[in-house]
Symmetry: C2
Subunit: 285 residues, 2 copies
């Protein structure tokens, strides 16, 4: 049976895997340094196991160019990480491994894994949202990863912000108080003076966080009409957020439509790299 | 050559057509009254021309049930128009005409027409937005009409609302100051005391309207990453809005991504009924 490779490329670490699925996979991780050094470490991992390797999927931090018509398809584009800016990531992996490559965003890859093996099985239109250092979103629309002019940048939607109740101006260097600016992990830390994981249960910060995330969810739900929303990331490890968010989202929707389920991911931290494998399988099985 | 039927079902009028496309089509319209009477008028129109009629497409006011697995697929659901609530619209047209029926929202139908013959040719992920009595949105995602749990309800996204600058509480009976509540035609009339079409060029109401619509557009763009946005409807007849909206959207995006073109529809008022024909063609040609 053919095995597939996967790379989850994050801004601070790379996760690489070879296997066929959640029950049959070997995973390693190492820090993200320069493109040359990091790609070589990935290549070394795949090289030792290259015999049955059919193809490699990549789920990358972004923004990335996914347009098959574009001469820079497979590149990372305008990232603040200067060394990686305009780097031909898919091309480099293709070149050092000699294998076909499928390239997408980290969130679309994770969505793909949840679709194949996790909380979004059987659905063709759903969202996968992650709330951590930033807020990212992807998913499937009509059975395929959400692309378009580029790819979703869901964290940057604008939502109501009551400055009297919450004077914090927002952490987004581009937009100030977009959703990501108001509700990412670093915004919580800047607003309350402690990291989100150290904020006590019952602190008003959790109600505010649920409020902002519910506003984002309602906007995404009205726009896409997903069959389900899979909501994960470091901040969502505080499970008490789920019922708070569901309640606030229902209050905001106010009976206008029947909201979809909002559920945690099933595959946890492995979703990204497993999704990279699933992307490769879907194209080259 | 087979001809196809189309019905654009609006809350105040029905538009019915038979033909093959924009250059070869016969169109009639009549007021929306009771379901029985209105369906019978549509049936009478198609009956006289039934010989070569291959199938009928419907683009309907909503909300509608589009889920092929649902026992009420093809029904209008919780509309405020009581006579039409829970009416088996697709079934009634199928039954009185004896022809196969394709059923979708009015905005998805219009989007389909713009994709086939108009401003969205060749694109597989784009949005079609209409700003009039309400604000509606649809489009194609990965080459197919945007469905999901039900269908987009894009007018109901929540956006920042500065109550000091604009104390108007919003016209939406469900949400008050959602985008539709702040920026639909009736909201403009309630705020300024004259109908939008009579508001003078240069009135501050146009800048405010462009501001709200730009906020909605930025949210939809960040969520879906459309290749283009086709923006029409009665309020958008005031063409000066286009450059104002484009400028405000670019200012809000603030260089974070390269925004898609925002363009008027090419097919004007015929988009809905032509799209209904195109939907039928796509499935039964």
């Amino acid at each position: 049976m053919a095995v597939f490779g996967g790379i989850e490329a994050g801004g601070t670490k790379f996760v690489c895997a070879i296997g066929a699925g959640p029950e049959d996979v070997e995973i390693i991780e190492f820090p993200t340094t320069t493109p040359a050094e990091t790609v070589e470490r990935a290549a070394a991992f795949f090289r030792g196991r290259a015999d049955g390797l059919a193809a490699i999927g990549i789920g990358s931090f972004g923004p990335v160019d996914l347009d098959p018509q574009s001469p820079t398809c497979g590149y990372i584009t305008d990232t603040p990480k200067e060394l990686w800016r305009h780097f031909d990531f898919a091309g480099a992996i293709r070149s050092v491994t000699g294998r076909p490559v499928v390239f997408d965003t980290d969130v679309n890859a994770a969505a793909f894994a949840e679709h194949r093996w996790g909380a979004a099985r059987g659905l063709d239109t759903f969202l996968y949202i992650t709330v951590g250092t930033g807020i990212g979103g992807g998913g499937l629309a009509n059975g395929k990863p959400m692309h378009g002019r580029m790819h979703p940048e869901m964290g940057h939607v604008r939502i109501p912000h009551d400055l009297a109740a919450d004077p914090y101006p927002g952490a987004c260097p581009y937009h100030g108080d977009c959703l990501e600016g108001l509700a990412c992990g670093p915004a919580m830390e800047a607003r309350w003076g402690v990291r989100a994981e150290n904020l006590p249960e019952g602190h008003q910060g959790w109600a505010l966080e649920a409020h902002y995330l519910a506003l984002g969810l309602v906007n995404w739900i009205c726009t896409v009409s997903p069959q389900r929303v899979v909501l994960g990331g470091g901040v969502m490890r505080r499970g008490v957020l789920y019922p708070m968010i569901r309640n606030q989202a229902a209050a905001l929707i106010h009976g206008y439509l029947d909201p979809p389920d909002i559920v945690p991911p099933s595959l946890g931290e492995r979703a990204g790299v497993l999704g990279a494998i699933a992307l490769a399988q879907s194209e080259f099985r």
